[in-house]
Symmetry: C2
Subunit: 316 residues, 2 copies
């Protein structure tokens, strides 16, 4: 039996963009949008809405900025009920860049924030909500949030923030099911008027398992990516969560097609998934940046040395 309230957001292009500097071409992104639309996925997150005053367009691909014209190039002419989402990071957006909802192809804006930046996130979300967008706050690095600070942030979000959904984001792929259960129950207990979401990383092959766990405890927004594409170990695979959810509107076949035709060849060019250095940062509850640097160097398979460099690091 499926739960109609559960919404699936595909963030393949957005999270995948963290591997290739947001350099997916229009054709590829259009194929993804077509597949997601045919599969009846609820949302597609297409990139970040960063300010071109803060980041040079020469250094990044177009999905770092998500100009309306680029979005229209990939969606125009495709029949779809899949809504477009963009992500903004605290301190990296110019709110004046954001047009009113009625003038934009974007339906939802998600604000990614650490617990410490929650006031800034609330300011941004309320601004975007007033412009007519659906909004969420995605609380990053949740595995490192101190419990009292998280409690306060959630209370503030419940009271002061117009976001419909608050996401728990396991940025480091460090959570086990028991902690996922704890965090989702905690969020649900405080966020009486909002939905709770889950965004999981796959460093320990638990992105899907933790997403199921979150759903069991009443998270109704789930992030996934096609073939698990995403930064470092990647994310919860869309094809798995669609099969689990059993919503009769979903059709997995367009997703299988786009994996065959686009993602298997792509995997030969860029790397993501269960790779031991990402596993190591996951079990140590660390950001994967050191592992990503290792994978770009000539010691990429020196796992023991990498592990020892992290556990030996002086933290006190």
């Amino acid at each position: 039996m499926f739960r109609d309230k559960i919404k699936v957001l595909d963030c393949t292009i957005r999270d995948g963009g963290l591997i290739n500097n947001h350099n997916f071409d229009h054709r590829f992104v259009r194929e993804v949008y077509k597949a997601l639309s045919e599969a009846k996925v609820d949302y597609m997150e297409i990139g970040y809405k960063n300010s071109k005053r803060l980041f040079s367009a020469k250094d990044y691909g177009i999905w770092k900025f998500c100009e309306d014209d680029d979005i229209r190039k990939v969606i125009d002419g495709i029949e779809s009920k899949t809504k477009i989402s963009v992500m903004v990071d605290v301190d990296r957006v110019d709110v004046e860049d954001i047009k009113p909802r009625k003038d934009s192809p974007v339906a939802m804006i998600r604000v990614a924030s650490y617990v410490k930046d929650i006031d800034k996130a609330i300011y941004l979300v309320n601004h975007f909500a007033d412009k007519g967008y659906e909004t969420t706050v995605n609380i990053m690095a949740i595995s490192r949030a101190l419990d009292n600070e998280l409690t306060e942030a959630l209370q503030q979000l419940e009271k002061e923030c117009k976001a419909q959904v608050i996401y728990i984001v396991d940025s480091f792929g460090a959570l086990y099911q028991e902690t996922t259960e704890f965090l989702i129950k905690k969020a649900k207990s405080i966020l009486k008027t909002k939905e709770v979401g889950i965004h999981a990383h796959n460093n320990q092959q638990l992105a899907f398992g933790n997403t199921i766990e979150a759903i069991i405890h009443d998270a109704n927004y789930v992030d996934a990516t096609i073939y698990g594409l995403g930064r470092a170990a990647g994310n919860c695979p869309l094809e798995l969560i669609m099969s689990f959810l059993k919503n009769p509107k979903f059709d997995i076949r367009p997703i299988l097609d786009v994996i065959s035709k686009e993602f298997v060849p792509l995997r030969e060019k860029i790397e993501w998934g269960y790779i031991i250095p990402y596993m190591i940062t996951g079990i140590l509850d660390e950001h994967p940046r050191a592992a990503m640097a290792l994978r770009n160097g000539d010691k990429k398979e020196n796992y023991r040395e990498f592990y020892e460099s992290l556990v030996g690091a002086d933290e006190e």
Copy 2:
């Protein structure tokens, strides 16, 4: 806090042998044994004890038969507390091949059985137990067992069988956490005098998640394989479960080393892991054999066609 009663059995060579006809050479198996011994893994399952009267030694590698001489070649001279296990399949073993425990390098014999063959499994286990071995019954294809038949099999095992451990085996990688919880609780409720174990496959990236779930509900024997090596999608990765268990005796570094030196190169030669045709057989609760055949042919990336061939098959 760790649970001392939890025992980890590495079945890399045994389950991995199902990919390459049990053709690992002595050097490779010795490297695995050395790593497991240094890592302080409790058991190493080295292969099957099949009868050479039923299978020709010309058609299979040595780990299909696990002669004592071959086992000694890989373990002699290595300091170790890791016990050797072999698996036998119902109807494929000649019990007269099995020497008394005191004359053999093997410590444990595990009997793999479908629910329907449980009487034969009990006969075999009791025979091996009488020869002095630690014994288990591994109930295969558990996702297809009918509840009343499984209940009866578990009751029989509790009453008539000398095995110390009864394993739940998710042969098809079809279980979600909720069903894992149901099955482990059921087994624990009937098997008052025995331990319960879990052997999971990774078709849906849930082998580790389901193993954690089983542990939460008091399974104390867990199977794993180095880098997840195993038939089709492979198994619960040993490096992940070791990190989860937090038993201070474990050392993950020898496992990281052997992955670097042996398993990364091996993965270039033989295929296992999260590959879409294995995902498809997992979500459909099917044996992976059709997917394995597909991967050996020239349509290996035709996922939609493969999916439709399975869901369209006439089953009534």
